[in-house]
Amino acid sequence: MNHRRVVVTGLGTINPVGGDVSATWNALIDGTSGIGPVTLVDASDLPSKIAGEVDGFDIEAFMPRRQARRMDRFAQFFWVAAAEALADAKIAYEEDDPETYRAGVVVGSGIGGVETFEQELRTLLGVGPHRLSPFGIPKIIANMAGGQLSIDFNLFGPNTTVVTACAASANAIGDAAAIIQRGSADVMVAGGSDAAITRFAMGGFSQARALSRRNDDPEGASRPFDAERDGFVMSEGAGALVLEEREHALARGATVYAEMLGYGMSADGYHVTLPRPGGGGAARAMQSALDDAGIRAEQLSYINAHGTSTAANDATETIAIKTVFGEHAYRMPISSTKSMTGHLLGGAGALESVASILAMRDGVVPPTINLTHPDPECDLDYVPGEARNVEIEFVMTNSFGFGGHNVALVFGRP
């Protein structure tokens, strides 16, 4: 059987540090935080009053109002990121183009349309079922980000959705690549989105003891691997890649950013929110991604860590990296861009794939900001404070989700 290789030909994102790929990359290299006080909802009685919001988001700059109001904010974000990625890849299909049947979408979302869910629930309890919006269900369901994209961009091939919490968009990218590898499509838009700066989501994650309460220092609140870290910072936004079968991309003269080489996943099988102590599950995902890519641990140049800034994740991820990489773990730069972006939940893996791919393209590793008091348990090179020039041959990005979902992706130079 022919081995179909998968490359990345388009990138897109909208997130708290940038409204597109270029602005985002500049902000990440500069070490800019996108975290501030919550303004989208009343946070006065919430334990965590800080978040990474997409400031001044105006969906009507992208689509007519009557369409926008049929989409939840999470689906709007994905639409914007995917539109950028498709334009970047120079892909636009007319409805009658037979190639549309070979082009699809895999989206990841942790929660889906939670803002709409809260609105509709208020209506149900306060007024009654007769006042529920006919668009409530289509806006809430997590797969609508992909459904809407297929409608607006004529993508009539495989279309599915992954709901693995904070690993969702990393799974989406891996699954989309597998769809291309097995020959079911030539082009796949893959990524993810969440828009969970809502009272229910912020309150619920706080009760799960996951969110930072460093409310007096928003920009310093996301501090992965730092001894004073106290939880992740909720953020919103989306990331999207265009994945393409390599010969298909080369034949049309597409710009190739990277090759998608390795996809590893595992389940902790341990606890609903906590990682398995010792990081065995995360280590298996990383090793599996290296094996899938066909590279040795020593060949990896950089890891964009999951690095959420929770006590449990950062220490456990560090152990897992040491398990897989041994002495090489100490020589290799590792950073968490969540120190700047906060945690996009289902958008995180895709945004961090964008960051990883650009790090490789430009030979620059974005920093981990706010890492000023190193935790003795986190003793690797996390590129504190400032970006660093590093030649990158192979890059890995980690994503772990509630439920014990562990995903690692490996990208290589085109």
Binding site: P64, R66, Q67, A68, R69, P134, F135, P138
Partner: protein, 81 residues
Amino acid sequence: MDRTEIESKLVDLLVDELGIERDAITPDAKFEEDLDVDSLGVVELLMALEDNFGVKIPDEEAEQITTVGEAIDLVETKLNS
């Protein structure tokens, strides 16, 4: 409320609640064919009518409405009955 007031308020609703272009709205305009209001949009319109005019529109009467003018007629009848 006279017919002109109903019409004016209805047009505002169509623009504000359903995002329809103001210029496209005429009494003869058909919701589905001319204004691109699908079945879900019609449900939304009826809810807006009930909320804003304080009338109750049963589903079987709602199904009879195809044009802007018919919606105005229905509201007018309801308000005067």
